[in-house]
Symmetry: C2
Subunit: 324 residues, 2 copies
């Protein structure tokens, strides 16, 4: 199968919203008048972002999910995406699975595949996603104010726990591994929550490199500091909801590592004034996404971790950095 | 140097047209009301699209040029682009050169770098470019009509000739190699020509995989055939303008291979009715880009090659395909 057959078979579908889809030099979109366009690109590399033997359907899902998560963090509505794919060879079963996972998530969010590129080379997936947001309403990293509450959506640390188990660093019961592996391989972009947070959150971003490292971007952009309650964040690892697996997670330090600096969560971290707690609760309910208050924005720069007794928790958790 | 320092040092500049540039979860653009958005992605892989030891400044230029060429082929005006970069390691001299070449071409076309991604992995460059075009005016592949003239811009085959020489297949004098190598490593996207052809050309595309293969996409999309005058296309190799190098290019078959199926030309191929020849000439002059009439669109499907005497030329030139 050649390059054009491959594109035609797996990645070309009838155009829906776009003015022109796959198959010409460019795709053409007709943005809604007056809306701003949100744009983000993410590149996933074999051996770095995923294992070579990962289920291709899960990989297709994740490749788009991490991009939709960036739109969610801005409060943007997904519109369309391009896919550039470097493949070592044409493996039809792999391509069929990858396309299935990718397009199922795309359909769930009304986000249309409009173009891209395919080439031969080491496996690499680059997606650029486009969304729309009303002018001035995008959620930015720079709006956190002293006194604001700090929240995260969903759960924290599951993906990292799965990674530790898959790398052989931490034994996990099979049922526990199956659950956290889903969170590693099929993250849920919080698209509805992000849009609902427009006008409520003072700042937001998505968590890809670990809570503390990512939060530091909000703090830096906003010129503020924060205090985080680690007894709350430690309870956000999804496995804490399963008492049967408590023995596997007995190590409090491992839980802190996973929840505070785990990476690959693809949850939203955001801030909002205490006066908006009811609004945050309403947004959480309306979007069907749990959110948890984990701390407070401080005027003084720096990140403080405290335990249930308000005592300082020592930490040296590093954010994930591809070049460190 | 870490990932964020790298982005800050080489790829972050003050925002100009964008509402929000590098550094948040998404970039924000404010498209001009009523304009359509043209989107294209291209991925360049080391060893496939460029040699490992290529000048990084030239590579930065080329990575954006091939994307701008797609906008040109649609008649779109460049607006912004994202850059996703997978690097084996942080090489500051390489990054400085790459960024210099990339941003110089971006500035020349008013196309702003608004976001992207960096990761560690085999060298891979993925750019997504965004442009704007008035609704209904984009140049498509599907508009060629029987009787239309067929044109190409600039020169053909130089990049392939350089590649043949660099691979050791064809000896070339040093001055000739220097000239054609420029065309391989620093192609010129025909952005002004593309925009000027709106309302004049009936179809257009850019030449990346070789004239005949690329032209077949126009023919297929338009449901037509074509006759191409090979004595004209053979003269479009830039080296034909240098009599001193004629001996190096004595092989007419090599010239035909390079000009008809060379690849990496990044010229525009387009069609226009014979009644618009004056308009095409005016567009060529206004955009400072030579264009040459090389054939005619036929009602009957298929691609005929003829020589100066109108005799059929045998050909089996294959278009470049990454998976064949």
């Amino acid at each position: 199968m050649g390059e054009f057959d491959l594109i035609a078979r797996y990645f070309t579908r009838p155009v829906r919203k776009a003015a022109l889809g796959v198959g010409d030099d460019c795709a053409l979109l007709a943005p809604a008048p007056g809306m701003q366009l949100a744009v983000s690109s993410d590149m996933l590399v074999e051996g770095r972002h995923f294992f070579a033997d990962v289920d291709p359907e899960a990989l297709g899902h994740k490749a788009l999910a991490v991009n939709l998560s960036d739109l969610a963090a801005c409060g943007a509505r997904p519109l369309a995406f391009t896919l550039a794919l470097s493949l070592p060879r044409v493996d039809e079963a792999w391509l069929a699975g990858f396309a299935r996972g990718l397009l199922a998530l795309a359909d769930a969010h009304g986000c249309e595949l409009v173009g891209g590129d395919t080439t031969q080379g080491p496996l690499n997936i680059c997606i650029t996603v486009l969304g729309e947001v009303p002018p001035g309403q995008a959620l930015l990293r720079s709006g956190a104010q002293p006194g604001d509450d700090i929240y995260v959506s969903g759960t924290l640390g599951d993906a990292r726990l799965a990674l530790e188990a898959l790398l052989g660093h931490t034994p996990l019961p099979a049922d526990t591994l199956a659950r956290v592996r889903q969170r590693l391989e099929r993250p849920t972009p919080r698209v509805a929550l992000g849009q609902a947070l427009r006008g409520v959150a003072s700042s937001a971003m998505d968590l890809s490199d670990g809570l503390l490292g990512d939060l530091s971007h909000i703090l830096k952009a906003s010129g503020v500091g924060a205090r985080i309650d680690t007894h709350i964040t430690s309870n956000l690892i999804a496995e804490s909801a399963y008492p049967s697996s408590a023995t596997a997670l007995f190590d409090a330090e491992l839980i802190r590592q996973c929840t505070l600096a785990g990476g690959d969560d693809y949850e939203l971290a955001f801030t909002a004034p205490p006066a908006r707690r009811d609004a945050v609760a309403a947004v959480s309910q309306a979007s069907g996404t749990s959110v948890t208050r984990i701390g407070t924005v401080l005027a003084e720069p720096g990140l403080q971790l405290v335990d249930a007794q308000g005592q300082a928790v020592e930490h040296r958790y590093a954010s994930f950095d591809h070049f460190r």
